[in-house]
Amino acid sequence: MADPMKIRANVIGDSTEVKVLMNHEMETGQRKDAQGTTIPAWFIQNVKVTHNDKVVLAAQWGPAVAKNPFLSFKFKGGAKGDKVKITWVDNHNDTRTDEVAIA
């Protein structure tokens, strides 16, 4: 089972700044292990961020996003206590959703 994300959402002026770290190998499928066997690709493909059920960011990723991905962005509005929810889905169809209250 995937590990939790580390999400921060803070009101800055009239926007909310979201910063997230995700636990994921982001294996490219191009690396070989010590025995020379290719390590299969394993990476997050879709990310969706919602604020009060409205999508504020949606992304498609390839394996070139770095291991343990980091993402930071801002959306207009958002009040302290509102929920910011983030979901990712990887190519194994594993998924993880975490949410945080805006601080």
Binding site: N46, K54, G62
Partner: protein, 158 residues
């Protein structure tokens, strides 16, 4: 061999890829809501040649309104390269990051709904020193900016 690639780029090789992607509809605004679709073809684009075969779609204009921030000229390690992109192009709908010399060019696409600021930062992998492209779709049109990032390696053990 590199010459032809460089020329391809200058001559709009990069453009055809964008056109392909646009034609494939992966940057369509309706994707923004339900981003569960993953455009396999777009992420498997391996070389300029491949993309040049596919034609059609719009041409991204070089834009000074797209800027990189917190993005170093040199990455100490290609496994983690910080990339920050801001688009000042009005009605920015999406931002994509592409790395010319990676095994697959496209690294990530971000759909930017109205109300979300067209600025974001993330971290990518780079196989080697390369141009990195920030492709912006705004009001149905494509814009692009690029930056070369050098990748170094080193250490004692070798």
């Amino acid at each position: 061999m590199d010459t032809s690639r460089r020329q391809a780029l200058k001559g709009g090789g990069g453009i055809t890829l964008f056109a392909l992607l646009a034609a494939a509809g992966w940057l369509a605004p309706e994707d923004a809501a339900g981003a569960d679709a993953w455009n396999k073809n777009a992420f498997e684009t391996k070389s300029m040649d491949e993309t040049m075969k596919a034609l059609g779609g719009g041409t991204p204009a070089q834009s000074k309104d797209i800027t990189f921030f917190s993005t170093p000229d040199i990455a100490e390690n290609g496994a983690v390269v910080p990339i920050g992109i801001t688009s000042a192009v009005p009605k920015t709908e999406s931002i994509a990051i592409m790395v010319e010399k990676n095994p697959n060019m496209l690294a990530a696409v971000f759909e930017i709904p109205a109300g979300t600021e067209p600025t974001l930062s993330t971290r990518i992998k780079m196989a080697q020193t390369s141009n990195v492209y920030a492709l912006v779709k705004a009001d149905g049109k494509y814009y692009v900016a690029s930056k070369e990032i050098k990748v170094t390696l080193g250490g004692c053990g070798g």
